[in-house]
Symmetry: C2
Subunit: 144 residues, 2 copies
């Protein structure tokens, strides 16, 4: 089983461009923050996040992130209405990107959430490890 899909049509082959095409919008990274840092896993949790994403946009972004293999979805076994969103290994690997974006903004802008910032400043590696641990239980083998 191949670890990478054949390249979709991109504006260029540059790896930064690939990242930007997948993540370069006003919501995707915030959804990933909610999963990675806050442990959110359901549609309603994302909806109620501080930035107030519209439900149609949220549905669209979740679909896109899944199509890129960054998140996975499954139905909740004990509640047939609920959909559980989870990070794939590819999604977990975005932790360093999120970390650097947080540290950059914390250095150059006035921001809140200093607890998170200090956690990241204290140890980027430790943060990555904690994200991996948080999501370790949810890895489904088929995800890539």
């Amino acid at each position: 089983m191949p670890r990478k899909k054949p390249p979709p049509k991109r504006r260029s082959g540059c790896p930064l461009n690939a990242s930007v095409e997948m993540l370069g919008d006003r919501w995707s990274l915030l959804i990933l923050r909610d999963m990675m840092i806050r442990g959110y896993r359901s549609f309603n949790e994302f909806l109620q996040s501080d930035e107030k994403i519209a439900s149609n946009i949220l549905a669209d972004r979740l679909r896109r992130l899944e199509s890129y293999g960054i998140i996975g979805t499954e139905r909740d076994a004990s509640d047939g209405r609920k959909v559980i969103y989870s990070l794939t290994a590819k999604g977990i690997d975005l932790a360093p990107v999120l970390t650097e974006m947080v540290l950059w903004a914390a250095r150059h802008e006035v921001t809140e959430n200093q607890a998170l910032v200090r956690q990241m400043q204290a140890g980027k590696e430790r943060f990555l490890v904690s994200v991996r641990e948080k999501w370790a239980e949810k890895q489904d083998p088929g995800a890539e």
Copy 2:
């Protein structure tokens, strides 16, 4: 003189949200890549980059990046038509963000530009230092 401006109205105070509001679109990070990695400094150079940005969008993004203090502009002394764009310290500090985005895409997607990828894999710190060196001469003291 304060090092940070008072907070503009944001959707939330989260540092990741601040980064996303400044950089979360399909072009800003590519322009910064062109400056940081390729040494581009003029409008026409950005225009001719692989991804083919439209000139009106480019003008808008350059204005935005300058308004955030990420880049600076000056007229070329020897050619009155030319405008020279440069990275500020704040812009240079985005090198780790770019690095992690490049490494993430290189790991999970099919991409080109493997020379750059290997350079970044070989040493993130060294890359940051090289960006700083490249732009050291262009620091104007008033930039923040």
